[in-house]
Symmetry: none
Subunit: 219 residues, 4 copies
DNA sequence: CATGAATGAGCTTTCATTCAT
DNA sequence: CATGAATGAAAGCTCATTCAT
């Protein structure tokens, strides 16, 4: 599983990056791969630097040439995962910018569910094993990216947003709600069909923008 | 083998606690106090049994007379916290059972925010420092209690719930949304006023029960 | 299993020993019983004082009223066992005093094998788990008793002992040989039938007293 | 994963040891030395890994790079000792293969006495302090080696062995008798001159092979 | 740069023993 | 005397990190 390919001596590509840098990048990736695998199989406490180094087929000393300490490796694992998910979701959001929310919201949520669920083991490891790094780590960055995106999307939707809505506050809340509910659905596997879950989550988000329940509606 | 004989002095009286039991309870409380404090100040990884014992002013050996291992202490800390919060929230929910959701939901959420925010440092320690100790740990138990409560409240609301709603699925989702958003609001302290946050959260929940956006409303 | 019988208030026997002493003796026996059982099931290192006390249905503190420390309990277990074996063997040896060695030696050895094999688990525990106490403990006393006995038996056999034999040296050697070989036979269970083993051991001992192999016998 | 590549500089030469291996061997020897010394001075229970590491002038962690646990160190101490003794005795036995038992047996026993007595303190530590670490531990291996040897020696003696002797059973018994008596003589230091002891032990062994005492001899 | 042996502080846990009740 | 909670020294062992080669 770990990359045994060595950078070919004479690459065809007009080497923009130094071989130096290539080797270094490859090494970092190798370590992150190893860290991810170990994190999944052994959990945070079982992810010793020795084990990660062994899984990366390098010496423990070498690991410290690329990362200052153990937590940096774990953080890199998380960062890479969230970046991948965020990239994919962002692309989808952008491609839906012009569409009405009844279309774009379900599309986005469905895609997020797929993206997060793509590696459920890793998701579980990240969420359940590494809260200790969460302080202002990569997960937060992830939310900020998506939050920013949502705010843009909200403001560009060619439909009226009720006056009583604070875009920033709403984005903060909805992003976190969607993210958390999706993760919990994936990890806790409640006895709720996927379609039902998606329908409810969409309803939650979309109904938020409706006018507060007018008196008349009751009774 | 340990003395199960109770002093038969006053057999009819509703169990005045033996000094034995009192001492034991006090000791457990002392250890949980210490564990809580250490968890807050040193985090999960820094919460060594020796440190907890020292903080409780007992010997490391004594700790093991009351808890089988370190995680049991941490679990007790969490359990006590979630129980306290759950107890207070449950009381409030029950006292609002007859009222319409426009009243009971804001009341409950506001109260939950207060209850959780009562010890923000502990909340942070529990949420950000503590790995999932068990699949059926105290946090999960907490959610199940509140979830059960919500389902009851929903069904007793005396007002029509749209046909297209699955009570269980809705309860699962809304409970987790409220819980998580409240916690994040408390821990991340986003630049959103409390009133705004509460209003939005209430809107999120209450609007969920409205009919899906009818055709007419768009445009 | 442990004795729950309490010393009857008014014993029929004309109480020579104080109830005090009786209680004390009973207690010691109870502790030794417990120690023996724990030694067998948990080994020396697993025989904690707490476990022994629990097995004796007393508190750990009480144990120290009867024994100064853990090793004293273990020593008492060994002492009682070896004393019982020695008593039985001694009786048999004495009853064979007049008989020729061709009769008395097999009788004694066979009886020793039975006596030692009576509680093979205890024998194993004593031999394999408690060498650390062997210095000049009860096992040594056992050998001295039997050795003394043997010397007496040797000197009272109404048959000639060759001049070149030092009775003390011979007794020292033969006693240890018989003891050790019997124990090893019981514990290691080599693929040797009991009869064969006994015959060989008797041959070893009895032939010892023959004249050193004369030249003539060879070729 | 650990470097199994050998420097291919001189492929034909009969494996000059890498410095790697030398260092490792030296370290193991150092730890075994330390373990031996600590075992002698503090006994098995006092032979903590920290103490052994300190005696070896290494850190406790280093010890675990060479031995998986404490008992492995103790086992290595015993193994080295028994191997040394066995090697020396085996050499002597082999060089006596052709000789008659009246010569080879005394020679072997005398040599065994010397070999075992070479480090009486260690012998005492091994015999009196060390619990049976495993059913197939070094002591047992030692006996099997010597037993095997004896059987060979017996069968090559070129002189008649009585028909009524089972070679395996006899070897089992005699080996253990010689071993145990020699050890006890060294450790208990009974008031028996060395010559007397050797003479008696030889007599015990050699006489074993004589015909069972014929009728005529009695009386 | 890579290595991996070496480090040593620190961890969780046990248990013989004591002593206030 | 009996109790058993409390002790605390010490055990075996791990692992993030360093540094000489």
């Amino acid at each position: 599983m770990t990359s045994k390919r060595r950078t070919p001596k004479t690459p065809a590509t007009p080497a923009r990056r130094t071989p130096q840098q290539d080797r270094s990048r490859a090494m970092v990736a190798r370590i992150v791969d190893a860290g991810q695998q170990v994190l999944i199989t052994h959990g945070y406490d079982g992810a010793s630097t020795n084990r990660i180094a062994a899984a990366a087929n390098i010496s423990p000393g070498s690991l410290y040439q690329y990362f200052p300490n153990k937590d940096a490796v774990v953080a890199a694992v998380i960062e890479r995962y969230t970046r991948e998910v965020a990239d994919r979701v962002r692309a989808r959001v952008l491609s839906n910018l012009g569409k009405p929310p009844e279309v774009s919201v379900p599309e986005t949520i469905s895609y997020l569910l797929d993206a997060l669920g793509n590696d459920r083991e890793l998701l579980r490891a990240v969420v359940e094993q590494t809260p200790r790094l969460a302080a202002d780590g990569p997960v937060v960055a992830f939310e900020q990216q998506i939050g920013e995106l949502s705010r843009v999307a909200l403001s560009m939707g060619h439909y009226p947003i009720p006056d009583d809505i604070d875009t920033d506050a709403a984005a903060w809340m909805l992003v976190r709600a969607v993210e958390h509910l999706t993760i919990r659905y994936l990890l806790d596997a409640p006895p709720i069909p996927r379609d039902r879950f998606l329908a409810d989550l969409n309803r939650l988000i979309l109904n938020f923008f409706r006018d507060p329940r007018p008196r008349a509606e009751r009774e």
